[in-house]
Symmetry: C3
Subunit: 271 residues, 3 copies
Amino acid sequence: MNEYAALLENVRAKKPLVHHITNYVTVNDCANITLAIGGSPVMADELADAMDIAAISSAVVLNMGTLNERTIPVMLAVGKSANAKGIPVVFDPVGAGASKPRNETAAKLLSEVALAAVRGNISEIRFLAGLRSHTKGVDASDADLAGASDAKQAAKSLAERTGGVVAVTGAQDVITDGKKTVSVSNGVAMLGSLTGTGCMCSSLIGCYLGANPDKPFESVTAALLSMGIAGEIAHERAGHLGSGSFRAALHDAMSRMDASVLERRAKYDEA
Amino acid sequence: MNEYAALLENVRAKKPLVHHITNYVTVNDCANITLAIGGSPVMADELADAMDIAAISSAVVLNMGTLNERTIPVMLAVGKSANAKGIPVVFDPVGAGASKPRNETAAKLLSEVALAAVRGNISEIRFLAGLRSHTKGVDASDADLAGASDAKQAAKSLAERTGGVVAVTGAQDVITDGKKTVSVSNGVAMLGSLTGTGCMCSSLIGCYLGANPDKPFESVTAALLSMGIAGEIAHERAGHLGSGSFRAALHDAMSRMDASVLERRAKYDEA
Amino acid sequence: MNEYAALLENVRAKKPLVHHITNYVTVNDCANITLAIGGSPVMADELADAMDIAAISSAVVLNMGTLNERTIPVMLAVGKSANAKGIPVVFDPVGAGASKPRNETAAKLLSEVALAAVRGNISEIRFLAGLRSHTKGVDASDADLAGASDAKQAAKSLAERTGGVVAVTGAQDVITDGKKTVSVSNGVAMLGSLTGTGCMCSSLIGCYLGANPDKPFESVTAALLSMGIAGEIAHERAGHLGSGSFRAALHDAMSRMDASVLERRAKYDEA
């Protein structure tokens, strides 16, 4: 069994409670993918409620996909509170670079909360790393994708700043903690034809981190391997049918993911 | 035709408008399951809008899954207004016991609104009944499940307080109005691997109650029989494929539910 | 290739960014259908965020399905800002006629924002056109459907007021810009058994308009042809299975829609 398979077994065994403050577009997908991998999802974004829920959670996922004035301070407060309790915080900077409130919220979270993991597309991570970015809404821009060979550099630069793990997801995923770097080549282009596959990656990271808090780098890698492999299985089974069947098959594959599949199909390299 | 089958035919014939003030995680599932059983869903949570919509509805479902300061007073106002108009109110106390705002909101609704039906998992109902509970987020805790034989006692205790019907859903569902008690043994464990199956039960209760307001106990029972049977059919057809296909098959089975299926497959006992 | 097929190819080629201020019930369906037809969805409803996002978008969709005090002024501000920049605005008046806030919001949008397209069911469009309407929640009422032959009159009357395109969707869709009128007979009744098929039509209109801003009438028609044809294909493949499979098949068909399918199956008439 490779080390990632062991981390998956921990998720299944511990069923970590993963608290999300997230957007209303993909929240249902995030809840179902959390259940599929073996976690227990809970969403709460009102201050007093979120503080209580965070206190009993194994991980917190902050996703700014549809941020608003009510929830931005809650993300900050919950993030700090989780830090104080040693609960790992995952940040998904949806649309960073695309608007002032997103940019400011991301900047605040980066400076005030210790982020165990940050996961975004190349446009978002480039922006957070202070590099030139061409964010176009919430999807990576073609201009930034053309420079995907820079993903490693952007991720490392951001990881040095956060002190945590940073992942850039795309055709090839790059995961780094500033020292070690791994690239994951599992996955299919069709994942980009569904909304929420990025958000779901962040939820999976929350599940793995929640069950394996002492292995942040490996947890992020295992999460992205899981999504990539589930995407491949879904594509083999239902890709020819279209995006609706592919979506169901993606959840199917995640719910049936096990150590042997993860071990047999994982494709990663030290980068 | 058993009495539950007759209630279903009323839902199909009357197409009751079911007003939800509910969470943003499972709201789409609630809308689609309402349509599948034959109701017409409408969601409105801004005070003036919700008051107008409630006034033309056949039932109101209050679900506190992602409550916030804006919507809590709306739930109370709409609940009272529905009471005044004789429109049945269903309460789904998601996460009761897990946070102060959830506990306080549940307490206010219990004391200020006449609840035709309350449906929750064993942790939530134990908490509302004033019994020791171990709520862990929004799913029933293992500690509480171990005491599931207490479901009947907790439900009866709460029903005496509300004067309405109380249902505890789980491996075996218990429904009581404080006098009569029925247990439903339809259903499959896989329903727990999807988010929103509890919320959908509450929506179904709203549909049955909306079409059969004079039969609250039987309506709640029919709703839980419907979900249990649909879950079994979905599991037979798609359970081996995984959670995504199971979800689609669950909606399939509900949309094709008819009196004969409900009659042939219903498994319930006076408890 | 008919003119509608050419418009579809523009959507696929340009991948327009379509900004939605929409409800939390069907938002995920709107995002996925936007991706399926070839657009890029983005949802943002906080003032500063929405203004920045709208500025980089190709079309804006305003859907008042779950309007609230925070988002109503944002819809107005974003609509006006889009007008100033020449970005087409689509309005989906969900539930117009059913509550005072919905009626007032619709009235404000009609008077203060230039609407490239308005799409609703017969109850909603009759209400906006100042005709007698029997809105029942968010679905068309039977009373209004009985008068569906009036759809053309209601749509023309509203189009004269807005100066844009108006579409009434139902068993037969009517599209008019006040001068030209087309009716589309593609589609199946089963589309009414899913939540969000109306909202998804409005998203598709946003995609077509975003890619073909100089062809508003033809864009709206192409969007409704796309939905009708996808509904037919989904029904042929999965209608017998039930609403869950039909839903997946609908997204499948939209993601596989191409110029030849659109050309071969389109059924429309000048009306």
